[in-house]
């Protein structure tokens, strides 16, 4: 069986009280099933996101560095992150700390674990990267109990998973999620808008400008025949839900298309409990109707 120890940074959104708590819980359930031993970073804090950086850049890096230091203290330098904004913040912190000598001195003074000869350099990973490149097809397929054959899944990456660094996939046309979907039997839809901006935080301050943008993305997915839209970002997810509510009356098809986190979909194919995944019975029944029932013909288990 696959065994690996990593630390986990939930961030505000994916934590137990955040709006994306089921992104968090479904990811943990999936990782547990695969055999990854996940330890939450103790007493973690805000990643020092772009909103904080807009006010105080140096302090934002110090906030990020505290989380990295906690992971090092736990002896688990490989850090898994779900939220793309947190992922980018901590990755950026890491880059800045090791290229800006004044910052490095300040960070070392606060957190002696940095630059300590015995401790390693933190390795910040997004969960998609980890699942595709470390877990891989073989281990993945061993855990699939219910193939989602024929389900037309539309992946929506949003912006900051691959930009600006493009660390593990193409910055404009990534395909990592599609690879995962093919392992669980689903049919990924190729959308030209999959990394188009969802407007991010601007939905709070500039709704008039960004809503038409998100509506366009949703409508494009409907035209392409999506049966399920899948995200990997708490903010993309929320913005798509907001746009869905706004166009529900005029675009009838949209009410039948659930918007889910990609780990919820994986969890479904791993046959994990609905309450851990945070998906309702109605969604599951709806998706089941779309899935070509070949799994039962093979006796429930695939491969």
């Amino acid at each position: 069986m696959f065994k690996k120890n990593v630390s986990y940074y939930p961030g505000c959104s994916c934590s137990k009280s955040g709006l994306a708590r089921y992104y968090g819980s479904s990811s943990l359930a999936v990782l547990k099933k695969i055999g990854v031993n996940v330890s939450e970073i103790e007493d973690w804090n805000c990643c020092g996101s772009n909103l904080y950086r807009t006010i105080d850049e140096n302090k934002a890096y110090l906030l990020g560095a505290r989380n990295l230091a906690k992971a090092l203290e736990m002896g688990l330098p490989e850090i898994l992150i779900l939220c793309p904004a947190c992922f980018l913040s901590l990755k950026r912190t890491l880059t800045e700390v090791f290229t800006n000598s004044t910052l490095l001195i300040e960070v070392k003074k606060k957190y002696s674990v940095f630059g300590n000869r015995t401790s390693s350099i933190p390795n910040v990973r997004h969960i998609i990267d980890f699942l595709v490149n470390d877990i891989g097809e073989d281990v993945f397929k061993k855990n699939v109990e219910k193939k989602l054959d024929g389900l037309k899944v539309a992946p929506y990456y949003g912006c900051q998973i691959t930009r600006p660094y493009g660390l593990f996939d193409d910055p404009e046309f990534p395909t990592s999620m599609e690879r995962i979907f093919s392992w669980i039997g689903a049919n990924p839809i190729d959308s030209p808008l999959k990394t188009k901006c969802c407007g991010g935080m601007l939905t709070i301050t500039n709704e008039g400008e960004v809503l038409p943008m998100i509506k366009k993305i949703l409508e494009s997915y409907i035209r392409l025949g999506a049966e399920c839209i899948v995200t990997a970002c708490p903010l993309c997810h929320l913005n798509l839900e907001i746009a869905k509510m706004k166009i529900k009356r005029t675009v009838k098809e949209i009410s039948n298309i659930p918007i889910m986190y990609f780990t919820q979909l994986i969890g479904l194919s791993f046959n994990l409990p609905f309450n851990e995944l945070g998906i309702t019975k109605e969604i599951v029944e709806h998706l089941n109707k779309k899935i070509i029932v070949t799994a039962s013909l093979r006796g429930g288990k695939n491969e």
Binding site: R21, L63, C159, R163, T195, L238, I242, G278
Partner: protein, 170 residues
Amino acid sequence: MNVQITHLINSDKKIHAVVEKCIQCGTCSASCPLNQYMDYTPRQLIALVREGMIDEALKSRTSWLCSTCYLCAVRCPVKINIGDFMTSLKRYAIKNGYSDNLPYSKLTKTYVDLVNKYGRISETKLIITFSLKTNPLKLLKMLPLSAKLLREGILSLSLEKVKNIQEIRT
């Protein structure tokens, strides 16, 4: 060079890099998903700064409409990060009192206050605090969404404070 431009460029190496290297090709402007709402396109904003028209640049709504999706950054032929340039410009505008009444500026301040107090944020708390400060009526408009989130059991005001909060504040 006038005093204003020297002060701006020296305040931030990211602004400096953009002003120095930009070739004015306009790839950033064409890539920007929000370009149609901007008074100056990203390329024009850079040109303004170069010309020393700092007041115009800082009063423009362009940087405030940047969602930092970094499409401009990955497409830029001279590899300058225009998204980060926008963030730097916002920071400079806030620091120098150009943006006290802008909603986005208030949002960032609300966010920072929450982090400094709790070490973390809660999206619900952030949106409510921000709306009360700016436009309480907005909360009414959000009722349908709140009702949906409440039904799904994910709307909560609880926020677990970082235990060692002193480390955050100093």
